[in-house]
């Protein structure tokens, strides 16, 4: 009857498969078996601990950055970097997907099993919960009133209808609903917070909702953590036709005392088909949202504003080049394409002063064939001086800044938040609003009096013990008071 015994039945039910007893072998009984396994609490417990153990590994063992493992060259480089730390284990751990544990087969398999188990458990518990709530058993045998964890027998010198009336009143005053059944003996059932048992189911279902939201996000969402924009540059907004974003300015400020960053702000303008829609500051904690796409302040760095013209003076390229990468030796480098020439240009700026090839105030332009990657030429140019390289004139106009934004569109997020709300509310109600149930048995005595027994199967819970005691005292007092009046 109680949550406890119901759970025990669940666990015990895993042993015999009813299908087999009927002689119905095959698919039905296999499904039956599967259902029993999925609804077993033991499986749930083992899966939860396994999930915890796997993710714990992910916090203790270094994880490969996103994308590295798909690129064979980057992968071997990365593995070489950690080999000193993990030695001969490196390859074994790699084969076991330990360095990518959060996207590993193991975690996905356990997650899927957990989801299946959650669905099975939730569905499995619906009929029982429905019965407990809507059609509780009212007549329980007399033995119950002697063996239940909380029980009390009372005798009164008042007729049973009197006692019934008073008892009902007391329970109602304590917020209980009262049900009764008369078959010579009056069977009583009182309960409080009778909708509360649903909350546990809601909370378990909520976990499935969250997983579903995460799935939607990973199937239909997108994310670019490396969306770079130099001051004065404009770029198309991914997934929104005709929309552009322009970085007007970027500002970073630091604490004068310890040099910690205090604030970094990108001032951007969003335009649709060339018409400006909005101008906004984007900072950490203050994203820009447009048509379901969000821009988050992520990182920043220096940029070089470069103009490239052909022999007739027509502009081939003009804009800020984010110097977002670092070359060996610490030089900051960035790149842009010259598609009509079939070239890729790299811009190299020094951070130090002792680079023999690039003097302060200069940048180096390195040109490569776009198709083969073969180097073509390399030349340092002065700021503000148009310099001709391979038939084009390059001008390093000035230094600027670039902002690195995270661009994301995750249609699963609202589903995840819905699941989160259900989860918190579900668990909070399940734990702070207990379903209280008390049974009673009222019989007339030959001497014209009556005897009332009440009993309950509270979980080990001193709060309920106290409530039970109070109820007993109140009933006694109320009956006595009614007798006096």
């Amino acid at each position: 009857m109680t949550q406890n015994t119901r759970t025990q039945k669940l666990a015990a039910g895993a042993v015999p498969a009813p299908g087999e007893a009927d002689g119905v072998a095959g698919v039905d009984s296999a499904l039956e078996q599967l259902w029993h396994v999925l609804t077993s609490m033991k499986l749930a417990l083992v899966l939860m601990l396994a999930f915890a153990a796997l993710t714990l590994v992910g916090t203790l063992v270094i994880q490969a950055p996103a994308g590295v493992m798909e690129d064979p060259q980057a992968k071997s480089q990365w593995l070489a970097g950690i080999r000193p730390r993990y030695g001969g284990w490196t390859d074994i751990l790699d084969r076991l997907q330990v360095f990518t544990i959060f996207t590993s087969f193991w975690l996905r398999a356990i997650g899927a099993l957990l989801a299946a188990s959650l669905v099975a458990c939730t569905v499995h518990r619906i009929p029982g919960t429905w019965r407990t709530v809507a059609r509780p058993r009212i007549d329980v045998g007399p033995a119950f009133f002697e063996h239940a964890p909380q029980h009390e027998a009372m005798t009164f010198h008042r007729p049973s209808d009197d006692v019934l009336e008073t008892t009902r009143r007391v329970f109602r005053r304590h917020g209980y609903r009262t049900l009764s059944l008369d078959d010579g003996t009056i069977h009583l059932y009182f309960d409080r917070n009778r909708w509360a048992p649903w909350s546990g189911l809601v909370a378990h279902a909520a976990i499935v909702v969250i997983l579903a939201g995460a799935m939607v996000g990973s199937l239909w969402g997108f994310r670019d953590g490396n969306f770079m924009l130099a001051e004065g540059s404009t770029s198309a907004i991914p997934k929104v036709a005709g929309a552009t974003i322009t970085l007007n300015s970027f500002k970073d400020t630091y604490s004068p005392t310890n040099g910690q960053p205090l604030d970094y702000v990108s001032n951007v303008t969003v335009a649709q088909n060339g018409a400006p829609i909005a101008t906004q500051d984007v900072r950490v904690n203050e994203p820009l949202r447009y048509q379901g796409v969000s821009f988050y302040q992520s990182f920043f760095g220096p940029a070089a504003v470069v103009t490239v013209k052909d022999a007739k003076g027509a502009i081939v390229y003009a804009g800020g080049v984010p110097l977002a990468w670092e070359a060996t030796g610490g030089n900051k480098v960035g790149t842009f394409a010259l598609p009509t020439q079939g070239l890729t240009a790299w811009v190299v700026a020094t951070t130090g002063t002792d680079d023999p090839a690039i003097k302060p105030g200069q940048v180096a332009i390195e040109l490569y064939r776009a198709d083969t990657g073969d180097p073509v030429v390399q030349k340092s140019i002065d700021q503000g001086v148009a310099t001709t390289i391979e038939g084009l004139t390059y001008t390093f106009e000035r230094e600027a800044k670039f902002t690195g934004l995270s661009v994301a569109n995750d249609p699963g997020t609202p589903i995840v938040w819905l699941g989160c709300i259900l989860l918190v509310v579900g668990f909070a109600v399940r734990m702070y609003v207990p379903h209280r149930r008390i049974w009673g048995r009222l019989a007339a005595r030959p001497d014209g009096g009556s005897s009332l027994a009440i009993a309950a199967v509270g979980r080990r819970d001193s709060g309920f013990d106290a409530e039970f005691t109070t109820l007993v005292t109140d009933i006694r007092q109320a009956v006595t008071a009614a007798a006096r009046s």
Partner: protein
């Protein structure tokens, strides 16, 4: 205000320490009572679950008062500090450690009030004191907030809920230790195993929904700041590990073969995971590296 916060912190720590000394004497008087009982001197046993012997209850009473005082002083310290910094106690390990200790004392006294098991204080208070001692060793300067932390309301609530969760997990840990320290039938002078089991369970019942909320608020913050609600950041992951362990405990407690000792062991593992989550940013790195120790 910053100075006031310092004074209140020192006074609160001292008061908590004296409370612990009081609990030690209280427990020792219990041992003496056990010896008297063994020698045949009559010993009273109270209502179900409560063991009342001829302990020097007045010592226990004073210890409780001192502990309450420590709780109040640490609370005052947090308030002064919040006024001085203009934000909740989340910008470095100093602030957060005091808040954690405050949470432990709060949770402990909530349970002492209901269950009258002062022996638990013998285990819970040292955890709080260790955190206070740790707070005393880390930099306490008030620094401006790094951009990621400039979301006052969300972070204050995030940390406030974390304190409730961590505080109650500490009480559950203390109860589980005492549970495991005695045979199934109990040992005189210690709270009864059933009572400890109930305290442990109640503490998780209080803490688990709060931990759920902590994780969700963290996800909300990550979504606002970085545009993704979950990124397997080590601190996020550690909190999820903790959540799963306590979730497993809640199931274990209603399963045959798992309730009792095994469930108590899960509480100990859960607390280890809590500490890992708490101190994690010191050695994990990641987005939560706000410790101010780098």
């Amino acid at each position: 205000m910053g100075k006031m916060a310092e004074y209140a912190f020192v006074a609160g720590t001292l008061s908590t320490f004296l409370a612990l000394v009081g609990y030690v004497f209280y427990a020792l008087s219990g041992v003496r009572a056990a010896r008297l009982a063994a020698a045949g001197v009559p010993v009273t046993t109270g209502r179900v679950g409560f063991v009342v012997g001829p302990r020097t209850t007045s010592i226990g009473h004073y210890a409780t008062l001192l502990g309450w005082l420590g709780f109040a002083l640490l609370g005052a310290s947090l308030v002064f500090r919040a006024i001085a910094t203009g934000h909740g106690p989340f910008s470095n390990m100093y602030e957060f450690s005091i808040a954690f200790a405050f949470g432990i004392l709060g949770a402990y006294y909530w349970f002492e009030q209901r269950y009258h098991q002062r022996v638990l204080g013998l285990l819970a208070l040292p955890v709080a004191l260790a955190l206070l001692a740790y707070a005393a060793t880390v930099p306490a300067e008030i620094e401006p907030l790094v951009p990621a932390l400039q979301n006052n309301l969300l972070l204050t609530v995030h940390v406030a809920t974390a304190i409730v969760a961590y505080g109650s997990f500490t009480v559950a840990f203390a109860a589980a230790l005492l549970y495991l320290a005695q045979p199934e039938t109990g040992r005189w002078g210690l709270p009864k195993p059933e009572v400890l089991d109930e305290i442990g369970y109640r503490a998780i019942v209080v803490g688990f929904p709060f931990l759920t909320l902590v994780i969700i608020l963290g996800a909300l913050w990550a979504d606002v700041a970085w545009g993704r609600y979950w990124g397997w950041d080590p601190k996020e992951t550690a909190s999820l590990v903790t959540w799963f362990i306590y979730g497993a405990y809640l199931h274990a407690r209603v399963m045959r073969g798992w309730r009792g000792r095994k469930a108590a062991i899960l509480l100990i593992i859960g607390f280890a995971a809590t500490l890992l989550t708490y101190f994690g940013n010191l050695f994990f790195g990641g987005l939560h590296s706000y410790s101010g120790l780098g």
